[in-house]
């Protein structure tokens, strides 16, 4: 079972290391064989090219784990709406796991 996983982040935005750790933990727990491509987004041009709505962004098989409609691409932090309604700078482990499990089912 192999998925294409990308982790995109901006240095301007703290806590991306925690998000990456959460992603690595979920992939290990779900026994997903995936090399995470880690991409640092450092400019508006790159953000446009990568369709980067903010840091951190996780895509699995090309799909954002929390898609944003009409996203503005910029090397900035992005907000996640968690399952309990709170706004957070990071995706929750639950959110990441749901996305990984959905990708596993589809692949």
């Amino acid at each position: 079972m192999s998925l294409k996983v990308r982790f995109l982040y901006s240095e301007d935005c703290p806590s991306h290391e925690e998000a990456l750790r959460r992603l690595q933990d979920v992939l290990r727990e779900e026994r997903v064989d995936a090399d995470i491509e880690v991409v640092r987004v450092g400019s508006f041009e790159q953000a446009e090219k990568e369709r980067f709505p903010g840091s951190p962004t996780i895509t699995i098989d090309g799909r954002d784990i929390s898609p944003i409609a009409n996203a503005h691409y910029a090397p900035a932090c992005r907000a996640y709406r968690l399952e309990d309604g709170r706004i957070s700078p990071l995706p929750s482990t639950f959110m990441i796991r749901e996305a990984v499990l959905a990708a596993k089912r589809e692949s």
Binding site: D12, C13, P14, F44, H72, A74, A76, C77, R78, A79, Y80, R86, I87, S88, P89, L90
Partner: protein, 177 residues
């Protein structure tokens, strides 16, 4: 790094607010404490903390404390931080404090602010008594262990120095032009 260190005097500002009037530091000279928070619309750290900012103002208003939020971000590159969007956010979240626009970014540069949110707490004499984060958990209000700003306010309002006068600001970088 902030240009102000402990016991430095607050730097003046005169900025337009979302309420349609200009606000300057001098109008708060009778307050027992003034909390200047560099803030913005788009930053998820601000969004995670802003309800707590409203709560602090509500809880401490009767003790003569005034919060003032200042948005210095480049609204061209970050349109969510425009003045129009600021007005919407203030209404949506029922801000009970002035939300001011620092279009030229001069105030942020003068203070040496680098992040949003970033707190500068001044006492009755206008001296800096606390600088840094609001509390120790941006992500989960229920998991907060140390309420740095509240503890500093409690100290300042009783005429004592806060136990913690400086924490490292956590949040998005201020978006410079």
């Amino acid at each position: 790094m902030a240009n102000l260190k402990s016991a430095d005097k607050a730097l003046p500002f005169n900025l337009p607010g979302v309420d349609g009037t200009n606000h300057n530091l001098q109008e708060y000279s009778e307050k027992n404490a003034v909390v200047v928070i560099f803030s913005c619309n788009h930053c998820p750290y601000v969004r995670a903390w802003e309800d707590r900012m409203v709560e602090v103002q509500a809880d401490y208003a009767s003790r003569g404390v005034q919060l003032v939020a200042i948005n210095s971000n480049d609204a061209v590159k970050y349109p969510e931080d425009s003045f129009a969007k600021m007005k919407e956010r203030a209404q949506e979240k029922k801000f009970n404090f002035p939300y001011l626009r620092d279009e030229s970014q001069k105030v942020a540069k003068a203070y040496g602010a680098e992040r949003t949110p970033e707190v500068f707490l001044f006492d009755k004499s206008g001296l800096l008594r606390y600088h840094g984060v609001i509390d120790d958990n941006y992500d989960n209000p229920a998991a907060v262990k140390i309420m740095y700003l509240r503890e500093a306010l409690d100290a300042v309002l009783t005429g004592t120095l806060p136990r913690t006068t400086e924490t490292k600001p956590v949040g998005c970088t201020i978006k410079w032009k």
